[in-house]
Amino acid sequence: MNLPLRDSNRSLPLVLTLLSLTSVAELRAPAADWPTYRGDNRRSGVTAEAIRVPLLPAWTYASPTPLQMAWPGPAKWDSYANLRRLESMRNFDPALFVIAVGDSVYFGSSVDDAVHCLDAKTGAEKWVFHTDGPVRLPPSWHQRKVYFGSDDGNAYCLDAALGDLVWKRKPSGEENLLLNDGKLISHWPCRTGVLIQDDIAYFGASLVPWEPSYLCAVDATTGAETGPGRYLEKLEHFTMQGAMLATQTRLYLPQGRQQPEMFERATGRAIGGFGGSGQGGVFAVVSRTDEFLHGSGQNHGSDGEVRGFDANSRDYFVTFPKAKRIVVTEATAYLNTGTELSGFARARYLEIAKHQAQLQAQHKRIKEALKKLGDKAKESAGEKLKDDLKPIEAELATVPPQLAACYLWRTVADCPHDLILAGATLFAGGDDRVTAFATATGKVLWSAAVTGRAHGLVVANGRLFVSTDRGTIHCFQMAAGE
């Protein structure tokens, strides 16, 4: 049995160190837990566990009725702007996402308002804890407790083994509920999940941007909001939804169609957003080198995109068109556009992209200055600016081939819904299918049928869990003896 030894925020540095020092393909890392949404608080989607394929089906959990997502789908198109295939920016709960710790699997349900704990070996139910509203994101496991939020407005802490309530906190206090697609929920549902870092539980309670939102940091053990680094901030014009992220000093909150916002972790002070109006989306990763990669919304662009920003300064530096998911390691980043999977040299690519962003910014500034000159652009000041443009444009022209040269491999892959990295294997979620690829070559290693669109992938303790939009959780495991 793999004991749940580590906390959600502490495992990745070791993993990345190992990855950087060792031949990844040969590494046979020990089994590991997956204690929070996308594995850690940076939502990296990475585990060191080197699970071996092929995998065999072990068990399947099926929701008795379809999932009840928080929001309807996106518009079919922006017909005015001639854009089709708009991506949803609020689809943070398309599947019963799981976490896996030891021999337990935990998930929250939008169907029955409960958190479920299953036996990872058999799929048998260990316990169920009901709340008064849908639970839209998976719990976080920390020191033998699980933490999660509910649309009833509470953040909960349960005993992980028994499912007993340890504490719950509702920042909005008593209220009259509102009706939401057959449910009675809080005006301030907790749809950020609960993130644990340094024994503090962070969560947001928020719904509509014309009402104030709450950002909370409470003691993970007691739920108390008193003490250093604990707070309950009441904030205007936010609509916090989707899994929260954290670094040592920052919190990051996706906001649906609004752009994600960065906060000071110690105080809850809002620092600013990433990108412009309409650049929302609930997929986000903070890399170990502090790039904030975020998508997959659009701002007058089709088919989604992932945008990259400096995770501290919030400076924009790159857009990956049509990207759905990205996994970033020290050496290599893996990009899933839904039709193509690729691996590229992370550091070099981002270095070029950042330089390109600087050049583009300079170019834009000069162009704007020229525009301001109007008819005087033909005079000497204008000519000087035009001369300034030339080397920038020449250098910009050299960027695309440099970026292309960073790619280690590219392969056709029709699996747009998720991407994670387990040791030397990438797992990608498609329609009715999950597929494994070799990180070194992009070659398909294994594939298996699932029921529905595979939105949630987890590798933990020798098992692969696949959560689909049909409300199923498929468990695959290594063959005996592996």
Partner: protein
Amino acid sequence: MGLGLRFWGRFLILWRVRIFNRPIVGLRSGLIAWAGGRWLGWVMLVTTVCQAAAQPLAWWTFDAEHIEVTKLLDRADDLHGVIQGPVRLTKDPFGALNFDGTENSADIPDIQLEDFPRSQISVEAWVALDAGLAWGGIVGCFQDNGDFEKGWLLGYDESHFRFAVSASGRLTYLTATAAFQKGQWYHVVGTYDGQAVKLYVNGKLEATSMDQHGDIAYPPKAFLTLGAYRDDNEFFRMQGKLHEVAIYGRALDPKEIESNFSTKGTPTPKPFAFRVPPHVRFLTPDTATISWETDEPSECSIEFGVGEKFDQQIPDAGSKTRHQLTLRGLQTRERYQYRIRTSSAQDGRRVTEAFELDNGLNYSVAQVADSPSPYPNTARSRQCGLVADQILSTTGITRGYCLLLDCNDGQLAYELARRSELIIVGVDTDPDQIARARALLRKAGVYGSRIRLHHAASLESLPYPQSFANLIVADGGADSVLLPATAQQLIPLLQPATGVACLGPWRSVTPTEVKDRVTKWLGELKANWNFVPADEGGWVRITRNPPADTGSWTHQYGDAGNSANSQEGLQGAARTDRLEVQWLGRPGADFGIDRNPRMPAPLAVNGRLFHQGLNRLAALDSYNGALLWSLEIPALRRVNMPRDAGNWCADSEQLYVAIKDRCWVIAAGTGELLRTFPLADRGLRASHEWGYVARAGDLLYGSSVKQGAVYTDFWGKESWYDGTSGAGTEKICSDDLFAVASANGELKWRYQGGVVINSTIAIAGGRVLFVECRNPAVRALTSSRIGSPKLWENQYLIALDAQTGAKLWEQPVDTADGIVVFYLLAAEDKVFLAASASGKYNLYAFSAAEGKSLWQTTHNWPHDNHGGHMQHPVVVRNTVFLEPCGYEAATGKLLTNDVGRHGGCATYAATSNALIYRGEGGRIAMWALADAAVTSWYNLRPSCWLSTVPANGMVLSPEGGGGCSCGNWLETSIGFAPKLGPKTN
């Protein structure tokens, strides 16, 4: 002249000598050797003598054989094309490329216009269109920009094929006499021989013009695009299929055209004669019925599948005119297509175009699994079943929310859920009971999907929103006559329009005792109740009245008088911060068309909200947002409301929707199609559609507009309909007005005079009022979409008796030309006309009794874009508001010029105390009449016309703006209720 030379090793190949624009003999190829720096002379010379006149100069076939990835091969020469967008090929019945109307078309790059045919031309295509367009193109090489019109175009409009040529003058557009049928294949040819322009459809001459002569006049530059109407100013892509396009350097003669048509062997399509076009009604999450009616008895089947597959088929037994088939096993959130295949003695076998069935927009509630009850079969279970039956039969409430007090073990909740479509909220003070019940109901698979249970410390103080429960019941257990909670707590939770509290059963209690107990329980509370006897006791049935200031929004602009005012009081609330979210959720942006095309307004009456989307509509409970039903109707669409009348209206029990040549009467509570009414004049039914629709008294009012006139386009900036003149500002007009009995469609009267401008038709005070144009030139127009300046001549303001249709009075009117918009609003004693053009709003008042002019005034537009030039006036009590001014209705005196300024394209709607509009930052805002205070909901966006209405005691904002991809919009439907007490937060 074109010369093709290419080296191949040491040979120089002379591979083409071409004179594209001359039907003469051409030299096709040759070979010259070059070696050692010396010409070796002609080694081989092959000339292919071709009679170019007999062959097409360019010939493209859209099949796998002639498309290489995205390259479209020219089978005649080297005018190869590039297909933009997705390449989706079909084979039935020809190889063809699917054009989606938005992303794909085929461009022929690098064309040399000097090579193009000049003295004669023929343009030929095999095409199947899925949608008409105001400006549709199959293939063209032209510019049509204002007065500059050159080149030629084979295309179509909303309903007919067209061919246009410019030689001696501007483009002459020929229009086929017969309308095309969507989804059917046609052979279309346009010819020009230097004198006559001709258009042939399926081998038959459809139109001829002698207006042009001489060589074709080409513009200096133009596109040669297939599958689109494209010039420098416009780019409208085709929605349909192309099999083949050919261009000839001479005018084909009729025999050749007939021969070319016959060669393909496709029978001439006959219009698919739907009497009532198909519509989908969702029954359960995986079941839907599709219903339609045909003119002639026929045997039908449905072919359907996910995406573009049609891999499932359901036959409908027997030859009949009324058809209904049920599709089962539909997958959650999948989008299907279906088509109907028919076989009749008269028409043979035919298949319709493909229609959409989007199960992702199926809002029906989850069904309780047909499996054994999780509860033991005991006396209590039998009692719960009996009680559930009695509650449902006593109240007739089977949809929406049910509040179950003292839910105990959840068994009554389970039995109610099994027998209805109710969403049940159970509450109990015993947490252990709740835990046990949750476990049992989860085991039955209904917990969360249909039933939710809450623990409450006391039933005297429940955290539920006011007015939310369609049904309130209590599980009385053994002691059934205990009245639950207090009436003061319970009754305000009842939905006030149609909600019922059903308490009982009352056993062994005399009527007097019932009366005493209920009267005492209700105390001072105003509620209506009666006792309904039943086996094993009876039931007390309680209803409540909506607040006295509750209003309705039954027509496009609130009422049949177009006041844009629902008379909704919102219990005094005139600010957004005096309202709070009562419900929030589906339908979302995926239900709608998009924000831009100025869709019909939602309607709300008798506790129900009706919302139109993309070829679909839905009914929600206004007070709790519960989806009551939805219909998908492919033929349902009308846009550009500022230039037309709405396509629907509602009363307390029925919804009336104009679809093609009929008005559908739909049960408001269930979505059942009760009946359809045809146009009043039998003679117009083949050529006209139902235009205006309104309800007043016991009559339903309608009008007839020529087919193809109504605006339906929604794609692109042109379909924003924000212009100040020209395309998109033409007014939809009617050729008659009529009234039928709303109960049975019996014709009561019909009026036929001039051309009636739909946006001016209003009913108030027992009068039907409108403006008509009697100009003969306008009356002679072949389209009901009228942009002619003559529309503003010979105009009359007319009042008819609403009951009899008798003319009460008429007055000639000479307003400013309403080029942008032209509206009429009718109140009890006054009529207002608003004409917008040339930077100004012009407002006119007349007496309703005799049409006497009372006053007129004018003010500048706030903007000439984003609707700043096309706002609809609003009447509130004694004031007429038209941004930014408010005028005294009686005198025209300016009362204010400080009406809350719109901040994006939408128009105003009024409560009794405020105007609701799109304000600063593009948000939905309120402007309070009392103090001019402006408040708004941050990041809440309406549609580009009228999607937020005050009615039923609420502000109702079904989603209208989510397609706007540049903003942070909330993108869902919301109902706001007045705050009755401070909300804790």
